[in-house]
């Protein structure tokens, strides 16, 4: 029975591509599918693009492929990457420049049409409300602060690029798992109404889209039992024509693929597992079976699918004020009591300087900054050290910057202290996320796929 082997690439912009080398060299894979876009990444890319219209893609693309292509090209391995971000054409340009250095000819495919920021008026004129899909709020409240608005495309345009012979496919926003489903459909000839096979494919893609999280990274179980995380292998899937799949990793790598590491990834960022909505298929994960069939090998069978949803998801991001923050540390004895007093002083001074904060958050790092009200108070009185972190939400950057200036004088004029941390921290722009829905047809109408041979 025919099968295809696909390597999981990056899990986000900033992830390491070193483990992909082992998948290429020893994983016997035909494709690398790489997810560079977390929910927020497009906001970072939009700011890049505002500074320079030739940016807006994830800038790990060229360094990553410069290292991986020399290994992958002789083996005929193809790449599918959403590194195009908000500007896939600009990503293509920098990639072409890099390819010329290799002196090879390659077919590069580009998928456009996910960004709808420029089309919002048109969509609303067509009767698409763009209301917040959870709260029902009107988008008018955030409209003028929007930085990006992109629809999650499915695998179809990616399959089109692969069918046209693309060796590298660059996309913007697509459903993460669709990066993986596309080569399965291209290689295995699945139909767009093979719901169960599509469901299996999306489950496999979901398992692979977060790199090391499928192979023992961020493992909430017995994390001590995971060997050699420094040399972790990223996940690899082999998928057969009938939809059956085995998840594994390259021989000689660290990490672990077993029932426990994979079931943690299966439900990662999932809401209703019996209706995991994707552009191609409504997936039911509750029917699947995961079976360990060997060391670092887990067989996945039995995911089932129902017809694709009529609406596609759009996620927009909007500017939502600034966060100012400051961190200052205190030592035993009475570390927490000193930090409490410092927090009181700063709050009094915030009033004195008229700092307008919509929200103030006080955390004691080393005590409750992570657990909040769930922190165990047993050792509160005897902490070796604690850092006070104070954060404010302000309408503008200048207001937020006022907080940082209140803290340094505490060194000489507050309770006995051990120093700051991070120096004066620049205020950071905050982003609101606006998820909404649009009918599939009005999005898909604008999708464009181009595949061109380039290089020398």
């Amino acid at each position: 029975m025919k099968s295809v082997r696909i390597a999981g690439g990056l899990g986000f912009y900033g992830d390491s591509w070193q483990p992909i080398k082992a998948s290429i060299e020893r994983g016997n894979v035909q494709y690398v599918a790489s997810d560079h876009l977390a929910e927020l990444t497009l906001a970072i890319l939009q700011k890049d693009r505002q500074r320079d219209p030739n940016l807006g893609y994830t800038r790990d693309l060229v360094p990553m492929l410069t290292e991986l292509l020399p290994l992958a090209l002789p083996m005929g391995i193809k790449f599918i990457l959403n590194a195009g971000g908000l500007n896939p054409m600009a990503a293509r340009e920098v990639l072409l420049t890099a390819l010329k250095k290799f002196g090879v000819k390659l077919k590069v495919g580009v998928v456009l049409g996910d960004s709808v920021l420029e089309r919002l008026d048109e969509l609303q004129a067509m009767g698409v409300s763009l209301a917040h899909m959870d709260t029902g709020e009107d988008i008018a409240t955030v409209r003028r602060h929007l930085l990006f608005a992109s629809a999650y495309l499915g695998a179809r345009p990616l399959v089109e690029a692969l069918d046209a012979g693309a060796d590298i496919v660059l996309t913007g926003r697509v459903a993460d798992a669709a990066l993986f489903l596309a080569p399965m459909i291209h290689e295995l000839g699945w139909q767009w109404d093979d719901w169960d096979k599509l469901a299996q494919g999306m489950v496999v893609g979901h398992l692979l889209e977060c790199s090391g999280q499928a192979t023992g990274g961020n493992f909430g179980g017995d994390w001590r039992s995971i060997p050699d995380l420094a040399n972790i292998g990223y996940p690899i899937a082999e998928v057969w024509e009938n939809g059956e799949a085995v998840i594994t990793k390259a021989p000689g790598t660290g990490g672990r693929v077993n029932f426990d590491t994979l079931r943690e990834q299966l439900l990662y960022e999932v809401h209703d597992p019996s209706h995991y909505l994707t552009p191609e298929v409504d997936v039911d994960m509750t029917t699947l079976h995961m079976e360990e069939i060997g060391p670092d090998q887990v067989r996945i069978t039995g995911a089932t699918g129902r017809p694709a949803p009529a609406m596609l998801k759009i996620v927009a991001g909007y500017e939502d004020g600034y966060m100012g923050q400051a961190i200052i540390g205190y030592a035993w004895p009475d570390a927490l009591a000193k930090a409490y007093l410092a927090a009181q002083i700063i709050q009094q001074q915030m009033k004195r300087v008229g700092l307008k904060a919509e929200e103030t958050l006080i955390e004691y790092m080393g005590y409750n900054s992570i657990s909040g009200p769930l922190a165990d108070p047993t050792h509160a009185k005897d902490l070796n050290e604690v850092y006070l972190r104070i954060a404010v939400r302000c309408a503008d950057k200048r207001e937020a910057a006022k907080l940082g200036r209140l803290v340094p004088p505490l060194g000489l004029s507050g309770p006995p202290f051990i120093g700051g941390a991070g120096g004066m921290i620049e205020p950071r722009g905050l982003l609101g996320i606006w998820p909404t829905l649009a009918p599939r047809a009005v999005i898909e109408e604008y999708i464009r796929v181009s595949v061109e041979e380039v290089g020398s």
Partner: protein, 104 residues
């Protein structure tokens, strides 16, 4: 006898907008049945008082011996606008494992 979930299960959390999910995994069928009985959405909602502002939904995933909780309003408005150190809610999973349940 009261037992902390820490001794019975493992967990991973993830974020999506202002919602977090926590998947709780049992080692075997008996432990799964106990989790289904004890770790109700109401108890999880109460456990996270002061952190979660909305409702808590629970989905049963018996084929992988897991319960999946969706916590609405769990992330101070969402990771990118949150003031919290743990903006992504990565530690909500371990926070759930502090809960004590009746194990018979």
């Amino acid at each position: 006898m009261k037992v902390q979930l820490m001794k019975l299960a493992h967990a991973r959390s993830g974020d999506k907008g202002d919602k977090a999910n926590i998947a709780l995994f049992a080692p075997d069928q008996a432990a799964y049945d106990l989790l289904v009985r004890e770790v109700t959405p109401e108890r999880v909602r109460a456990h996270f008082e002061g952190i979660v502002t909305g409702k808590v939904e629970r989905f049963e995933v018996p084929n992988v011996l897991a319960l999946n909780f969706v916590l609405h309003g769990a992330l101070n408005g969402g990771a990118s606008r949150s003031l919290r150190s743990d903006a992504l809610g990565k530690s909500l999973s371990s926070a759930l494992l502090r809960m004590e349940v009746e194990a018979v």
